[in-house]
Symmetry: C2
Subunit: 327 residues, 2 copies
Amino acid sequence: MLKIKELGEFGFIDSIKLGKTVDDLKVGIGDDAAIISPHEEFDIAVTTDILVEGSHFFADTDPFAIGYRSMCANLSDIAAMGAIPKFYFVSLGINPERDFGYVKDIYRGLNYLAEQFDTNLAGGDTIKSDKTIISITLIGYVEKSVAIKREGKIEDRDLIVSVGPLGYSGAGLEVIKNKLDGFDEQAKVFLYPYPQVVAGRILAHSKLVRVMMDNSDGLASCIENLVIKNGFGAILFEEELFDEKLKAIAEITNRDYLDFVFNGGEDFGLVAVVRRDGFLDLSTFLEKSLINNNVKIIGEITQERKIVLRRLDNSFLEIKKTGYVQF
Amino acid sequence: MLKIKELGEFGFIDSIKLGKTVDDLKVGIGDDAAIISPHEEFDIAVTTDILVEGSHFFADTDPFAIGYRSMCANLSDIAAMGAIPKFYFVSLGINPERDFGYVKDIYRGLNYLAEQFDTNLAGGDTIKSDKTIISITLIGYVEKSVAIKREGKIEDRDLIVSVGPLGYSGAGLEVIKNKLDGFDEQAKVFLYPYPQVVAGRILAHSKLVRVMMDNSDGLASCIENLVIKNGFGAILFEEELFDEKLKAIAEITNRDYLDFVFNGGEDFGLVAVVRRDGFLDLSTFLEKSLINNNVKIIGEITQERKIVLRRLDNSFLEIKKTGYVQF
C-alpha cells in the first residue's frame, strides 16, 4: 500500500501529511465521551455509516471483510472532503451466540485498514442484537477552507476526473456470485476496495478542484450531483471508461458493462470536477505517484444540462436515470 | 424545561452558555461528510450510542419515545464531560414495511430534546433492516482543560454529589410493567428522562469537581469507577438516597429499593466527586437554580477502599458487586 511518505514531489506534500496525532486524543475509550483536541488550523470532518446483516452482508460473511469494508466506506467519505482521517468510533450489535473470534475479526478488519492511515479507535459501544450491526463514525481533520464539497461553482469545459477503479466492484460481485475465473482484480475491488485518502488530500490541496465526491453510488450519481445539480451538463468519453475485463464479465453474466460503471457503485474511488488549466501537470503527477490508482480525465463539462456518453464509434448515448437513450 | 438563560447568578454563567452555533456547520446533510468549524478555544467531545429493537425497546414502542431516549443517552454522556452538545448524526435501520410516520416520529423524539439544547442534526444514514436500529453520534464542544474525566486524583473527605433522580427509572419501569397507580413521577423518569446538560456545565466550570460520570449504569457503577478505581472508598448516607415512593414500589413488586438506586440505571443524572471547600455554596446555588434537579451530597470519600452505606438506623451495609453485606 502507498504511504504518504513515499510521495516526494510537489510543494504541497508537506501540508497533506496524514501524520500521527494520537496526542490529540485527550480522553479515549472508557469515559462517557471521547475528547479530541485538534490544532486550531483544522476543521473537523464527520461521517457515519451503518451496515447490517441481511442488507449489506450475510451471517456467514468473513467478519474481517465486514470490518474492512465498513472502514473503507467511512475513509472514502473523509477522502472525498479532502480531509485526513483521525479517529473512529464503533458501535457493534452482536448476537451473544457468536464466537468471540468473530468480534475480534471485525475489529481486525477495521484496524487493518485504519492503521494504514494512522487512524485510531477512540470509543464505541457493544450491544446485544440478533443480527450483526456495525455502525462507524469517523472523524477527520481538514485545514480551514480546504474541504471540497459536492455543491459549488463549476464552468463550461472543466474536466471530469476519476480516481480509482470504475465498475470493478459491481463486476467483482458477479465474478464471486458466478465463480468466474480470471477476474481476480475485479473480485479484489469488491472484497477489499481501497479508499483514495491520499489522492483526496492531493486533489484538495491542488486548488484546482471545484467539487468532489466519492463514487460509492456509481458514476451516474456522481455526475448528477457534481454536474447537473450545479447547473451544467457533461460529455463522457467511453474510451476512458471501457475495460476489456468488465466487458467480458458483462457478456458472461448477460449484463451491460456500462451498468457496472454507472450504477454499480462501491468502488470507493473519487470523482471531481477540476479546472482545465494546470490540471494536466497534476494528473501526470497523480498517475506517477499513486500506484495503480487509475487517474483519468473521463469527460468535460458542457453547457447543455444533460449527460452524454461519446461512444467508441463516435455515436452518442444520453445517460438518464431511467436508462440509456441512443441519438 | 429550564433554559440556561433563566440562570442569573454566579460569574461563570456567561461562560457556560449553550448558544446557537449553526454557523459552525460549514457542510451539513447531503455531502460525503459534515464539516464542523469549532472556535479555537474548544476541544471536541464525541459520544456514540446504539439501540436496537428487541434489546432496548420493542416493535410496538412509541417511536417518539425511542428517539427521545436515544438523544437523552447521548446528551447525558456529553453532560458528564461538562461539554456543550452541538451536532448529532443519526444512522437508522428501518424495516421497509414500516409507516413513514414511524420514522418521522423517531426524528421528532430526537429533535424534541435536542432543540432544547440548541443541538442540530448534521448528517446520517438510513438503511433497510428487519428490526429498528438507531445509532446516534453526538458532538459537543468543551473549553480546553475543562472536560471532566472519570479517572483523576480524589482526596479523603471529598464529597460525593448526585444530580437528578436516583433509582426512579428502574422503579418507573416496574410501575409501567405492573400498571401501578400513584407513581407518575417515576414512570416519567423511565419514559422521558432529562439529561443534566446545564448541571454538567455548571459543575465543570466550578473548578470544584475532580471526577464525574453519568449514572446511566446505576450508582454502584459510578462509585466503582469514580472512587474505587481512583484508589479510595466511600461512605454513602441512606437518608439522602431514601425515597418513600421508591420504597413503596419496591414493596409492591417484591424488590429492594436499594436495587433501583444502585443497579437500576437509566436515570441519566450525574455523579461527581467534588472538593469539600466551596462546594456547599455551589450546592445551594445548584438546588435553587436547577428546577427539580435534586442536587444532593450523598456521601463522602474515605481512605478504606470499599463502599459502605450508613443506614437510617445507623447500621452499616457494605455494597459489593455481588450484593449487600450487613456489618
